[in-house]
C-alpha cells in the first residue's frame, strides 16, 4: 500500500532521512521507532508530500509528488498537535475537511460520535481539550473511510487516561484492516498497535523487528535510576513522560525503564528540560523491581 524507495531528505547539511526504503503492505500496521531527531516525523511528512525529497514514494500506486491529490485521497492523517482554527465549531471543521475530500453529504454529529465526541459538535475548537482536539483530528482523518492512516506521535500531548483511550480507538481501527503507519516513542503504544517496528537511527533504518520481537526486546531492557533533588522531581517526571518514558518515583530519584540501546534518552530529556540530576545508575529490571518492593515496604 505504501512504498518508499531510497528516500533522502536534508535540511541544509543535516541529513534527516538517509536513503530509507520501506514497504507497508495493505492491512499492515508499521511503527516508526526512534529517539527524537531519528527522522520519524520527517519521513512521515515526506510520505504525505509535505517535504520535497530525493527518492520515490507511492501510496496505493499513486506517486506522491506527481499524483499527490489521488495519493492523499487514500490517507487519513493525524499530526502530533494541531492548531485548528479556534473560532470554528467542531461540526464546521468536519464539514470543511469533508468537502476537501470530495464528500458532500456528511453528518458532522455522526463523524464526531465515531471518535467519542458526541454532543461536542457545537463547541468552538478553542473550547476543546487537547485530547478532544486529537479525537477531532482523528474524526477528520477517518472522513471518507480512507484505507491508510498515518499518525505522527498522536498521543504525545495527551495525559495517561487520554492516551489509553486514544490507543484503544486506534486498536479498533487497525484491527478493521486499515493500513497504519505511525511514529511513536512509547513502548506501550507500539506494543499495542504494531505488526512491525522500523527502528530509525540518525535518519537511517537501523533494524526492522516484528511486533512480538520488539516487545520482547523492550522487556529485556534496563532501568535507569536517576538521582534528582526532591523539588525538581515533578518537572523531571513531566519531561520524561513528554519524551515517551514511563518514570516512577523511587527514594532519592526516579526509576525509568529504557530499551537496552536508549539508556542516554532519559538523561537527554532531563538535560533539555533543565531538571538537574546529580547521579545515575543502570539497573537490571529485576533489581529495579526488588528495589521498588523494598521502598514500598519501607514507606508502609
Amino acid at each position: 500500500m505504501i512504498q518508499i524507495d531510497h528516500v533522502t531528505r536534508r535540511f541544509g547539511r543535516a541529513v534527516a532521512v538517509d536513503d530509507v526504503s520501506l514497504k507497508v503492505d495493505s492491512g499492515e500496521s508499521v511503527a516508526l521507532w526512534g529517539a527524537n531527531g531519528a527522522g520519524k516525523t520527517t519521513l512521515i511528512r515526506c510520505v504525505l508530500g509535505l517535504l520535497r525529497r530525493r527518492g520515490r514514494i507511492t501510496i496505493g500506486g499513486h506517486e506522491v509528488r506527481r499524483r499527490g491529490k489521488a495519493a492523499r485521497m487514500l490517507v487519513g492523517y493525524v499530526p502530533q498537535e494541531l492548531g485548528f482554527y479556534d473560532e470554528l465549531r467542531a461540526e464546521e471543521a468536519i464539514r470543511f475537511f469533508a468537502r476537501l475530500k470530495g464528500l458532500r453529504r456528511v453528518e458532522g454529529a455522526e463523524e464526531l460520535a465515531r471518535v467519542g465526541l458526541e454532543g461536542h459538535g457545537r463547541k468552538r475548537i478553542r473550547e476543546l481539550s487537547g485530547g478532544m482536539k486529537q479525537r477531532l483530528a482523528l474524526a477528520v482523518a477517518l472522513l471518507g473511510d480512507p484505507p491508510v492512516l498515518i499518525l505522527d506521535e498522536v498521543t504525545a500531548s495527551l495525559d495517561a487516561v487520554g492516551r489509553e483511550e486514544f490507543v484503544g480507538l486506534l486498536e479498533g481501527l487497525s484491527g478493521a484492516g486499515r493500513t497504519l503507519l505511525f511514529a511513536s516513542h512509547r513502548v506501550d503504544e507500539v506494543s499495542a498497535l504494531a505488526d512491525r517496528v522500523v527502528m530509525l537511527d540518525k535518519g537511517r533504518v537501523a533494524e526492522v523487528l516484528a511486533g512480538g520481537a520488539f516487545v520482547a526486546r523492550m522487556r529485556g531492557g534496563a532501568v535507569l535510576h536517576v538521582h534528582i533533588p526532591a523539588e525538581h522531581r515533578d518537572r523531571a517526571m513531566r519531561a520524561l513522560r513528554e519524551s515517551g518514558f514511563d518514570p516512577r518515583l523511587n527514594g532519592v530519584g526516579l526509576l525509568v525503564p529504557v530499551a537496552h540501546d536508549q539508556k542516554a534518552g532519559p538523561l537527554q530529556a532531563l538535560a533539555q528540560s533543565g531538571a538537574p540530576f546529580s547521579d545515575f545508575e543502570v539497573l537490571s529490571p529485576g533489581r529495579a523491581a526488588r528495589g521498588k518492593t523494598r521502598n514500598s515496604e519501607a514507606t508502609s
Partner: protein, 290 residues
C-alpha cells in the same frame, strides 16, 4: 498482518475549482466573523462619511458627482486605507496558518498549494470587496440622504477601482505571507511595503526627477509601476478630471494617450494582481508548508 485488506473507497479527488471554492468560502466566513473585518469596515465607513461631509460642506453641496472635493477626498482616503487593509489581511493569512501547523495539515489533504492560495485570495478578496462596498455605500447613502448630488456611475467607478487596488495589494500581501515564516514578520513587512508605496515612492520619484533630470515620459512610466499612483490617475481620469492636476506627467499622459489610458491603467493593476500571485503560488509549491 491482521484482518483482510481494507476496501479502497470509490472516491475521486475533488476538482481544483471545488477545493478553491471550499477554501474561499471558509476564508470569507472567517474574515466576516473576525474583528479585523468589522473594525476595518467601521473605520472606513466612519472616515469616508467624515471626508464626504467635510468636503461636501466646503464645496457648496456637491456630493459624489464627477471630480470635486468629495471625490478627491474619498480617493485620498482609499489611497491610504485600502492598501493597508489588503496588505495586512493578505500578509497575516498564510503565515498564521503556517505557524499554527494548519497549512501543512491542509496540504496533507487532497488539495494543492495553488488551490489553497487561490481559495484564500478569493475569500479574502470577497471580504475586502464587501468591506469597501459597505463603506462607500454608506457614504453615498448618507450624501444622497442629505440631498447632495451623487452620481451612481461615480460611486461605481470609485468602488470598482478601489476593489481592483485592494485585489492587487492583497496579492502582494499573500506573496509576503507565502515567503515569511512568522506572522509578525509578514505583517511587519506588509506595513513597510505600505509605507514605501504611500510615502517613500512619491518622495523618491520627486527626488529622482530632480537629481536625474528624468524626462516627463520616464516619470509617467515610473508612476505606472506604483499601483497607488495608477489608482489615483485612473480614478481622476474616470471622474472626467484632467490629469494636469497631477502636474506635467499627468498632462503628458492625457495628451499622449487620451482614451487609451483606461487599458494602460487596467493592464498595470492587472499586472499587480497576477505577478505577485504567480510568485506566491511558486513559493508555496516549492517551499515546505512547515
Amino acid at each position: 498482518m491482521k484482518a483482510a485488506a481494507y476496501p479502497v473507497p470509490a472516491l475521486r479527488a475533488p476538482s481544483a475549482v471545488s477545493n478553491t471554492l471550499t477554501i474561499a468560502g471558509r476564508e470569507l466566513r472567517d474574515a466576516v466573523r473576525s474583528r479585523w473585518f468589522v473594525l476595518y469596515t467601521l473605520a472606513f465607513a466612519a472616515l469616508g462619511l467624515g471626508v464626504s461631509f467635510v468636503s461636501a460642506a466646503g464645496s457648496g453641496g456637491t456630493g459624489l458627482s464627477g471630480f470635486g472635493r468629495t471625490t478627491a477626498g474619498l480617493i485620498n482616503l482609499t489611497l491610504l486605507f485600502v492598501p493597508l487593509m489588503a496588505l495586512t489581511a493578505g500578509a497575516g493569512s498564510i503565515a498564521s496558518d503556517r505557524e499554527r501547523g494548519m497549512l501543512a495539515y491542509v496540504f496533507a489533504q487532497p488539495t494543492s498549494p495553488v488551490e489553497t492560495l487561490l481559495g484564500k485570495y478569493l475569500g479574502l478578496g470577497a471580504a475586502l470587496a464587501a468591506c469597501l462596498a459597505l463603506g462607500l455605500g454608506a457614504c453615498a447613502g448618507a450624501l444622497a440622504a442629505r440631498g447632495l448630488r451623487t452620481d451612481p456611475s461615480s460611486i461605481l467607478w470609485l468602488a470598482g477601482l478601489s476593489v481592483l487596488l485592494a485585489m492587487g495589494m492583497l496579492s502582494v500581501g499573500l506573496l509576503i505571507s507565502a515567503l515569511a515564516r512568522r506572522t509578525s514578520v509578514a505583517v511587519g513587512t506588509a506595513i513597510f511595503v505600505w509605507l514605501a508605496l504611500v510615502f517613500v515612492s512619491d518622495l523618491a520619484l520627486m527626488a529622482g526627477a530632480v537629481a536625474l533630470r528624468l524626462r516627463i515620459e520616464d516619470l509617467f512610466a515610473i508612476a505606472l509601476l506604483n499601483p497607488l499612483q495608477v489608482f489615483k490617475m485612473w480614478s481622476l481620469h474616470a471622474a472626467d478630471a484632467s490629469l494636469d492636476v497631477l502636474g506635467p506627467a499627468g498632462l503628458y499622459a492625457s495628451e499622449e494617450f487620451g482614451a487609451r489610458l483606461h487599458p494602460i491603467f487596467g493592464a498595470s493593476l492587472a499586472a499587480w494582481i497576477v505577478a505577485p500571485l504567480t510568485l506566491a503560488a511558486l513559493a508555496l509549491s516549492r517551499r515546505s508548508p512547515l
